[in-house]
Amino acid sequence: MKYSSLKVNAKGKEQHTYDAIVIGSGISGGWAAKELCEKGLKTLVLERGRMVEHRKDYPTATKHIWELPYRNRLTHEQIRENPILSRCYAYEQATEHFFVKDKEHPYIQKKPFDWIRGYQVGGKSLLWARWTQRWSDLDFEANAKEGVAIDWPIRYRDIAPWYSYVERFAGISGNRDGLPQIPDGEFLPPMEMNCAEVYFKDQLKTHYTDRHLVISRTANLTRPHLGRGPCQHRDLCYRGCPFGGYFSSNSATLPAAEKTGNLTIRPFSVVHSIIYDEHTQKAKGVRVIDTNTKETTEFFSKIVFLNAATLNSTLVLMNSKSSRFPNGLGNDSGELGHNLMDHNYNARVEATLEGFEDKSPFGKRPTGTYLPRFRNFGQDRQSNFSRGYAYSVGGSRRPGSEQGEAMIGTELKKDLTNLGPWKIEMTGMGECLPYHENKVSLSETEKDDWDMPLLEIDAEYKTNELNMQKDMVDSAIEMLQKANLKDIEEIPMNRNFGLNIHEMGTARMGKDPKTSVLNPYNQVWGCKNVFVTDGSCMTSSACQNPSLTYMAITARAADHAIKELKKQNL
């Protein structure tokens, strides 16, 4: 990839001018880069972290566990230095180089909030869970129907062709299940469900009309796709995949953008602010701080895509102050920074399934099964919470049994070298409502090493989320009981807000500049050549994993940007 080697702001404006600037190279920034480059725009991608090249920069990708430090176990020093990060399930010796360490980028927690970040080319697209259920109008209409927050400015029909568009490129494995709450898409063949999952699916069908267990639609390739993959079923995705078996910016969108010859990536470039031109009432470029030299450089472009990930995009907007926008770019409504959401995953139940002793799974499937939303949907009405949740469901069979806990010697060894019983584990994934008072703001006193104000985060789950959480546990237990599973056990969960790494909102889309930050095409109200298309744009959270929707929204916004540029509207 082409690097910009500009270190000083002395080469003249021309050399610092592009058609488009994309801030951030993660899952949505990668898409913006690909779409804009392919449409012929000379595009500069600014990334605050280091370069990570596909394959070359995955140092642990093919290491056996016995080759990793401490067999992949974190050291006490790592845990002590990173109390926040070490709560993230994917942080281990094999992946530690892709995560921001707590001390490197501090922030202020008004209430407990675990902010998990990946500052490198590719961002968290290297680390995501790859579950890609579509949203439906159940989600896009919910705010309007309930009078909660503001209405989404788009409906499923607006985004459906863009879901198809991004699915065809990303490569999504899945089954066409015909369920309206998770519309079918453009799928590669699905991965298999195992014995326990098929059994549970059938049991649910026997006992309920509204509970369906499906294989999760997943951005892992079940066949070769556009020169990538297929997935080798190692389930080591978080290390980066040398087979290109899953979708990431590094494996997919950035190489596509690079192929056009229109892409320049500039790592180590943290965006300080977007420069607003009072005369044209548009952005003329961005102010960049080199993270190594701390030198400031300005880059200019016709359009800017802001894809720094939810909270950092909002931070950039807040830090982009002008006399027109004294409270941050696009903040006429006062909503910038507000309505922060995450999902609520604090409901887990495990159980044992008797039978199928003569069957075992083979290989490691990098996904699980999915039990889509059934609450407050169809005929179901709940009195003490609105919206709903889905479950991640996993059947598994591994060596060792409960009895081994009391054994030593040959007895223990025999236990641990033979397969134990089948297990089913269910984790609830609950929607979180957009509350105005769940918010982020800029610290007035504290700054980071690059002179950027620290972010203050102030968010919590409220009654609706907590009532729903109880139902997630109770319903899981009920379903497992009806399916005749044994040793059903609730696993207490106490994940902080943020730790589900689905932080979204804080620069929401809407129809009205008085109540939203972005218009229906993700353009900043009052500064139409700035597009914000990462998680910050979300008006509600639904209960599906959100990244596929960010991709679709980004591709749609990029298409709109190109059309508007052609019409000379930008």
Binding site: T75, E192, V198, H233, E357, P361, L412
Partner: protein, 194 residues
């Protein structure tokens, strides 16, 4: 055993010397063998840890034991680098305690016992740990019995070692496919590992 008890125990051993405090059985052994007190782990503990590991996961027909997997070396490394100071203290107290028990009951340190006596000591501790851990259930800050720590380290080290993963299991680091339900014969087939 609470943290307080542990500290008190270590202190007494340190202040008064092992022999004077030991049970009468030890005195009958004429105090030839001094119980040891661990305040850290080093390479010289590998032999003892190898024997403890081998008792927990012994060599059997066709399968190596923990000692052959260099479990002592692994345990020294992980206890030193990965355990919290509290867990490390618990672990070291455990070694001190096992040594004292061994000398009290048999007049010899654990390494010098025969296989049956080693098993007896650790099986008793396993039972103690099960009872101890049961009492911790529902506690806000449950404590862990030192034997559970030792066992967890031995089991993890053993089952992540190359020979065990590749020979005891059906190891396929690049399986290429996932099949949800393949036939599995408990008597013949090795479980899959990736």
């Amino acid at each position: 055993m609470t943290t307080m008890d542990r500290k008190g125990f270590l202190q007494q051993l340190t202040l008064l010397g092992g022999c004077t405090l030991m049970a009468p059985t030890v005195l009958l052994q004429s105090c030839r063998v001094e119980p040891r007190i661990w305040s850290n782990l080093s390479a010289k503990d590998i032999a003892l840890l190898d024997e403890l590991g081998e008792t927990i996961l012994p060599k059997t027909d066709g399968q190596p034991g923990a000692k052959e997997m260099e479990i002592g070396k692994y345990v020294v490394e992980v206890v030193t680098a990965c355990l919290s100071p509290e867990d490390r203290d618990t672990f070291l107290y455990g070694l001190t305690s096992i040594d004292a028990n061994s000398i009290a009951d048999f007049g010899r340190p654990f390494e010098d016992l025969d296989e049956e006596d080693r098993y007896g000591i650790l099986k008793a501790l396993q039972d103690e740990a099960v009872a101890f851990n049961e009492k911790q259930q529902g506690k806000l800050e449950p404590e862990i019995h030192y034997f559970s720590l030792l066992k967890e380290l031995v089991v993890t080290g053993y089952f992540t070692s190359k020979t065990v993963m590749t020979e005891v299991f059906d190891y396929h680091p690049v399986p290429g496919k996932y099949e949800g339900c393949v036939d599995f014969d408990v008597a013949k087939d090795k479980p899959y590992k990736g």
